[in-house]
Symmetry: C2
């Protein structure tokens, strides 16, 4: 358990960090959140996370009173207080606390909470790849907002875990495999990358965009298009991306071996390049 | 503000009632809730609410350690402490508090919270009917679970309110008007009632089921079937039902006058019969 958390302007002992029962995230899922990876005491791609959060808040009409620099200062202090050299920082903005009514409250200040946590090592998974399952996507139609309405994701990832899967790939009727329960999905076929296009049905993943950028820099072809279940199962390589797992090779999906069942060359190349980018950004960041 | 709330076995001053930042309702919408109307100090249809909540918890795999009688005792004490003769009682069960991870935590006790609140008078609205709007249903596909993943409902009801609507009727692609943002919907055409059938796309409303029961007792014909936007706009009467608003006549939808623009005879008859049922149940309930 971390020592410190942040709640609306104050650093408080983590075990005392709480929100009122009428906080709107708690009662309506009426909030947005972000998770950034901390490497060497530095939150990677923090600015990208803040921008995404601000955009999501704007889409659902949550007021945004913060400058990015204020949030950076808050997170930096949290990391320092918790001496969190490696791990994650989670922060959440809800629409605020108000007598319960679906309609936006006439007066409410957003609730901002944050804390850091350790993050598990993925070395073995990167080395061997992981198993995933394909689950029905039952989520709402505004998945581009990183809101705390995550019960659909929770149920899919639990279904996957109950079958030994490290991730649930979500299949949306009429669209194919759209993303993972907490990741974006890519396939490689004949040297060409494919990942579903940005739309209201998928989260605009920050790692996803870095991977596309790296792929372009390395001269790989990449298509943003929907992927069918059949294509995925017959791909040479499959991987998923997220802030936490970075670039994670898939060894098998729903019991079907992907490619040769071990991480493929494109996946390994992208993971290595992503790690280089992280190392460069975090080792040179101002402290 | 009520004086008292309930949090995990204890009655606490309302302003101190809170949940940890890692409560799963707060971070994932991973919880279920109920709202019962209190009339004359008695929560109406309490048993129906508890049964629906228990069923919803079971669908999403939240353990259920309570007997109904324990919850009844808790709610009765809360009502007595707050001297809540008229109003609502809200209670919520989340999967518990655990280090954040989508997958169900290996160990977590559900968090049970509750409080009462005053409830506004609807006399004028019952008399005149209300305006509603029709909004796109962007919610997830398990709307039969009364979970706190309500952001789709929030956005629809806010969109309605911004246009002067008291409720948002939700139109799901391929299904028509499925229900309201926090209610079930009925139409009357040529003396026949219609309301969408129970499915994973609508909440099994308790008031809805009482209204269907009353309609049958009074010899009305009622069909459980989907309703198109056109049918709704051309209906003789439209009303919506919920624990709070009971049976609410619709005077206009998306600017189209419904019937003669005033509450119709079937709606008035059902509202009166519902109120009689409430009065009978609550005035004879043991204290």
């Amino acid at each position: 358990m971390p020592a410190w958390a942040y709640v609306n302007g104050k650093f408080v002992p983590f075990e005392e960090a709480s929100l009122p029962v009428e906080d709107r995230a708690t009662q309506f899922g009426d909030g947005v959140y972000e998770v950034a990876r901390i490497y060497e005491g530095v939150p990677f791609a923090f600015s990208d996370h803040v921008q995404r959060m601000q955009k999501g808040a704007s889409i659902i009409g949550i007021p945004w009173p913060w400058e990015e620099a204020e949030l950076q200062t808050m997170v930096d202090e949290l990391i320092a207080r918790n001496n969190q050299q490696d791990g994650i920082v989670y922060w959440q903005v809800s629409r605020g606390t108000a007598p319960r009514s679906h309609v936006f409250p006439p007066q409410a200040d957003p609730n901002l909470t944050a804390y850091t946590r350790d993050y598990p090592d993925h070395a073995a998974a990167w080395e061997q790849g992981v198993k995933v399952t394909i689950e029905r996507d039952v989520r709402w139609l505004l998945c581009h907002v990183k809101s705390v309405n995550l019960l659909g994701n929770v149920l899919a990832k639990e279904a996957a875990a109950s079958k030994g899967g490290a991730e649930a790939l979500l299949e949306r009727e009429g669209y194919g495999i759209v993303e993972g329960g907490s990741s974006n999905v890519f396939i490689v076929k004949d040297g060409v990358l494919a990942t579903p296009p940005l739309s209201e049905l998928i989260l605009p993943g920050i790692t996803r965009s870095y991977v596309l950028e790296i792929a372009a820099e390395q001269g790989m072809s990449a298509a943003e298009r929907y992927i069918s279940r059949e294509e995925l199962l017959q791909a040479d390589e499959v991987f998923f991306t997220s802030t936490g797992v970075e670039v994670m090779p898939v060894a098998a999906a729903d019991g079907h071996t992907i490619g040769s069942g071990v991480p493929g060359p494109v996946t390994k190349q992208l993971l290595a390049a992503y790690k280089e980018r992280v190392a460069a950004a975090c080792s040179t960041a101002p402290r």
